[in-house]
Symmetry: none
Subunit: 128 residues, 4 copies
DNA sequence: GTGGTCTAGACCACA
DNA sequence: GTGGTCTAGACCACG
């Protein structure tokens, strides 16, 4: 099973699904054109409600990462090589990154170490 | 005024406060030993509920960034140079960073560019 | 009552609500800062489900026209004078306008007459 | 190929076909008397279901833009110069135009700019 | 008391 | 058989 959820986790279930799919796209486990499970199927597999899956898919569509097809179900629409993010998207991302990096630094992680971890994660994504 | 809030923003108000204080610690605007405003004071200044400020402070306490004293109020307990984060804290941070980096990569931002942005933010924190 | 719905109309109910609110903003009946009814209130008034209202509000939020407040409920966030639409938004609008104008022209409406109708509607919005 | 479809686009396929044919009539690419491809032919060319093409043609018939003959297939029935639309048709169109214009105005597009865009599109249809 | 989330189950549009 | 829409009712997070 590609996706799992923690019903009692801090993040809402649809958010957990969204995050896992984003990571799967980054790692190449899912590539543009790949089909995601149908809402009903995934809901049944995970023991959650169809609408919850639907919401996760809808958010991903709003982010431009998946297309919701009429016949095909949900399909990955964008991937690592597929053109750059727009300005607003990038600005929003940077704002969130800034907060996350501030937390690391404020809690005592050394900047070179932080950067190294980021590099390692990105290297993993690129497959190096 | 050091802190501001958007009452109708996407993030809850207590989260906005928490984030801003974290960034303030990272940039050195707030240093270990500095006192934060009292909950009543800050709530009055921002026009928000006292409980909301309290929640923000409590979260920061749970993260180990502030100490809450009966008479001393909230005081910054940790800063950039103050020893490393523990393993659990670090692992949790890395999980969140992984998701954020995956989003950037999946949406087409180039890894060197992403790293550069991270480096720039960290440089800003260290004062270069 | 400001808003009404036709449960059996061609457009989904949430779309009808969205459209009416957009028109209300254009005509000035609703101005930035004005509060919309709460989801439960509006649902009760119209005899529809809370989630349907929620969806309409969520779409308007995605369009940037309303903010969904924690305490305040839904509030108009943008109005006629409030800065221009971004490029993508404009391009999408123009694509839809092109189709609508093509329909008018193909069905025999004379271009000057079409323009005149558009001008009249816009004049109504500006209050002239 | 005159017509194309995005199977996973926001609009249903039959709607995409309908829109493209309407635009083709407006631009003069298709003129009254011209034959459209047979449903089988077009469905095969586009890799879609025959029923979908059928539905698009039927909508156009309901709008009075094409005539469906048993042997003649689908033929364009109306064009830019072919008499005015009836009152009901016009009223419906104006209602939709009003919503679309309201959206533009509410989102900050200036009325003169909106009118100018409309004029440009109509000029393109008339061939200037 | 507000919106947010989740569940459950139904019907419809689309293909 | 897919996603889209709507209804109904419950609990939670936020303030």
């Amino acid at each position: 099973m590609l996706l799992t959820v923690e019903p009692d986790g801090d993040d809402p279930i649809y958010q957990q699904l969204r995050d896992q799919i984003v990571v799967a796209v980054a790692t190449g486990v899912l590539a543009p054109g790949d089909a995601l499970p149908t809402t009903r199927q995934l809901a049944a597999d995970l023991g959650i409600n169809m609408h919850t899956v639907n919401k996760a898919y809808d958010r991903l569509r709003a982010e431009g990462l998946v297309r919701l097809g009429r016949r095909t179900g949900a399909v990955i629409a964008r991937g690592p090589g597929d053109g750059a993010a727009d300005a607003e998207e990038t600005a929003d991302w940077e704002r969130r990154a800034r907060t996350l990096l501030a937390e690391a630094f404020a809690k005592g992680m050394a900047p070179p170490e932080v950067l190294e971890r980021c590099r390692a994660v990105l290297d993993e994504f690129t497959g190096r």
